[in-house]
Amino acid sequence: MTQIKVAIIYHSGLGHTAYQAKAVRDGAQSVECSEATLIFAGDAMDRRAELHASDAMIFGCPTYMGSASAGFKEFMDATSRIWLAQGWRNKVAGAFTNSGNQSGDKLSTLYQLMTFAMQHGMVWAGLDLPGGNNSTRGGTEDLNRLGSWVGAMAQSNTDQGIDGIEESDLRTAYRLGARVAQVAVALNSANTLDHKRSLPF
């Protein structure tokens, strides 16, 4: 099988989402024939060749004020020329987000990132994990304890650094990374979709 490339494009305000992004990267890297790279959103347009060459992209940012952080939105808006040319069509996409609040309306951000990927003609890969912490036998240590299938959610306490993220959320992020990479490997071996295009920019 040929090697596939997964780019994790992330933004982080206080370091927590960067920590989540690392778990996503490690999950994507764990899949056979998959190579994963972290790219900071602010650098992503300077590294667009790597994005063009990728088979999958995973978008991640903190949820601020109920939507994607400004640093990530800046990257989204900067991709409009690629979108016009449908340069990322048929690449696989997934997303993750983190906030201080348990909900924090994180689903808005995941929808926003999914819409972004859909506009780019990408193929969405969600999270294939049963919901956790939803029964008397459940607890915060459960995978997908925040119960989202559009993408991976994490919650990190506002009075702590990176050790304030639940380990279960990092494991959930890891599983999302693996899932997106697996879908990319499968699509790539089916070899029916053309998703790598040479773009003039």
Binding site: S12, L14, K22, A23
Partner: protein
């Protein structure tokens, strides 16, 4: 207006200078229980950014403070014997006694009366004799304690024990050393405050403290023990101690900042914590804001004191919250010991939830790259 300032530390002296410079209608008497050349602690660390307000408030003092400071823009976190150096915003170290002497030199020509080795016996007389009494007398404030029913302060002792030393070993970086010993985790905070001198503060939790046998050790034995534990970092330099060896910091919180003609500033009002190194800065900023309130409201004391609290409260709470979070990080150190040195250092940097990731990418991209490259701890555990 007659003002008594109790305590000739950085906040008290700075307030005296700012007020007297503002107007000669202020007759200011500063009272200090210690001698003019005595001081507690050896050196202080200030973030470069914290000097901005000082420059705005008193440019001459700011220039003089810079002259007696050692500057640095790196910190080092040592964990599992590995030293991780991180580029950070500029910070300065100052020998505390030199800062106090400098402030005294700035106060003297303005006609501020400074009385040293004077212990306040009856604060009520002060309250009657002066138009305003300022408690700038530190964490164990006599003024605050005399009117505890008015100020309603809450004093919470912290868990960990601290020992304050100086050393001639010159640390190139503001250093945090985490040394796993057979007794438990021992931590050293080291920083230069002079070209040939640095502060070296040893910290451990009470369980480690017991297991190491510190309760039964003399000061000399304690010092030798600490020298031995941190010998890899001290390069054979001895530790030098003041009068006091172990202490447990208190967190002071005060809901009422003032009543009638009495007001608190600095550590007397609220403490931060040695681990965020902001006590001096926070206290001097109190003085700055109180002085500005006088500029605004002149001799309307009620308005002055109300404005002081209104304008200072948010900033004060911010620093105290950061201090409490920082303490919590140290007190839960065991949950982070499995981190690799880079992740551990990042965890430290992010502990108050106030690290700016984009800023860190500017001050030290190599460190951020190393953090990105290090596997997530969950991947290692499987």
């Amino acid at each position: 207006m007659k003002i008594a300032i109790v305590g000739a530390g950085p906040s008290g002296l700075f307030l005296a200078k700012l007020l007297r410079r503002q107007s000669e209608r202020f007759e200011i008497d500063v009272f200090e229980q210690n001698a003019a050349d005595a001081t507690y602690g050896f050196g202080i660390g200030l973030l470069g950014s914290s000097l901005k307000f000082l420059k705005a408030a008193d440019e001459a003092l700011y220039e003089d403070v810079l002259k007696i400071s050692s500057k640095g823009d790196t910190m080092m976190v040592a964990h599992k014997g590995e030293q991780v150096v991180i580029g950070v915003d500029e910070s300065v170290g100052i020998e505390r006694i030199r800062l106090l002497n400098l402030l005294q030199d700035h106060c003297r020509p303005l006609g501020i009366n400074m009385t040293f080795e004077h212990r306040i016996e009856n604060i009520d007389t002060f309250k009657e004799d002066y138009d305003l009494v300022v408690g700038a007398d530190g964490v164990n404030s006599v003024v605050r304690n005399a009117y505890s029913d008015k100020f309603q302060s809450k004093v919470t002792p912290q868990k960990n024990k601290f020992a304050w030393y100086a050393t001639e070993k010159v640390f190139d970086h503001m250093s945090l050393i985490f040394e796993q010993t057979e007794y438990g985790m021992m931590i050293a905070h080291a920083y230069a405050y002079r070209q040939d001198r640095g502060g070296f503060v040893v910290e451990c939790d009470p369980e480690t403290w017991d297991r190491a046998g510190f309760p039964d050790m003399s000061n000399g034995e304690t010092r030798e023990f600490c020298e031995e534990i941190f010998s890899d970092y001290l390069d054979g330099h001895p530790l030098m101690s003041g009068e006091l060896t172990w202490f447990t910091p208190n967190i002071v919180r005060t809901p009422n900042w003032h009543f009638e003609n009495v007001v608190l500033i600095g550590d007397a009002l609220r403490t931060v914590h040695p681990s965020i190194g902001s006590g001096t800065r926070v206290g001097m900023r109190d003085a700055d804001i109180l002085s500005r309130a006088f500029e605004e409201h002149r001799d309307d004391l009620d308005a002055v004191l109300a404005t002081y609290k209104k304008n200072r409260l948010a900033g004060s709470d911010f620093f105290q919250k950061a201090a409490v979070q920082s303490i919590a990080w140290y007190e839960s150190i065991d949950s982070k010991l499995h981190f690799d040195p880079v992740t551990f250092a990042f965890s430290y940097m992010s502990r108050t939830g106030a690290i700016d990731y984009e800023r860190l990418r500017k001050t030290d991209m190599d460190f951020v790259r190393a953090f990105e490259a290090a596997p997530s701890p969950i991947s290692i555990q499987g």
